[in-house]
């Protein structure tokens, strides 16, 4: 789950855009909420995660961080380890 500015196909902020780009390189289901359209949601998420900025990424309900952290975890391979069990099983259609 990513709480972001804009939507994955039209991010309204460079950091949200970066985070979506990283997450899209893994073929995992991605749900997104646009916090620009919902100030109440925005404040609720901020309070819940104790994190003041967006985007915010959650994997299986666990708060992962913002775009800096997602990028570092992508580069270090940690993100792959977190997402690997979410990847669709290997029977490929092609």
């Amino acid at each position: 789950m990513i709480y972001m500015k804009g939507i994955p196909d039209a991010p309204m902020c460079g950091f949200s855009s970066l985070a979506v780009k990283v997450l899209k390189t893994y073929k995992v289901p991605l749900s997104a909420r646009n916090i620009l359209e919902n100030p109440e949601l925005k404040n609720a998420v901020k309070g819940f995660s104790h994190w003041p900025t967006f985007p915010q990424i959650f994997i299986n309900g666990e708060f992962i961080g913002g775009s800096d952290i997602i990028l570092i975890m992508h580069q270090s391979g940690e993100l792959k380890d977190k997402l690997i069990h979410l990847l669709p099983k290997v029977d490929k259609e092609e």
Binding site: M12, C13, F15, W51, P52, F63, D68, I69, M73
Partner: protein, 102 residues
């Protein structure tokens, strides 16, 4: 009020620097104002200076802390700035040991 007056005179970058330096005893601390890269951004329409910064900080206080905790420490120290128009930070937070390794 005195501090409010000072806020007007001192750049946000130097306030960020001071706050982080004194609380985290940083051995390396770089704060760059990159607000110009975000001018025209939806959230900064009416106030497009001093909104975005890159922060690189090396502190022994990050020892044993996850990335999320390190970033939270930085955000917590800058609460006042976040409430007064600071919009986003790009944070690199390392321990002295992690820097030595490279």
């Amino acid at each position: 009020m005195a501090s409010r007056a000072a806020n007007v005179l001192v750049s946000r970058a130097s306030r960020i620097k001071n706050k982080l330096q004194s609380a985290l005893e940083a051995s390396i601390l770089e704060v760059d104002d990159v607000s110009y890269q975000h001018a025209g951004h939806s959230a900064v329409k009416d106030n497009n200076n001093e909104t975005h910064f890159n922060v690189k900080i090396v502190s022994p206080k990050f020892d044993g802390q996850s990335l999320v905790k390190r970033h939270r420490m930085v955000y917590d120290l800058l609460g006042e700035e976040l409430d007064s128009g600071l919009h986003a930070l790009s944070i690199v937070a390392k321990t002295p040991k992690e820097v030595e390794k490279k």
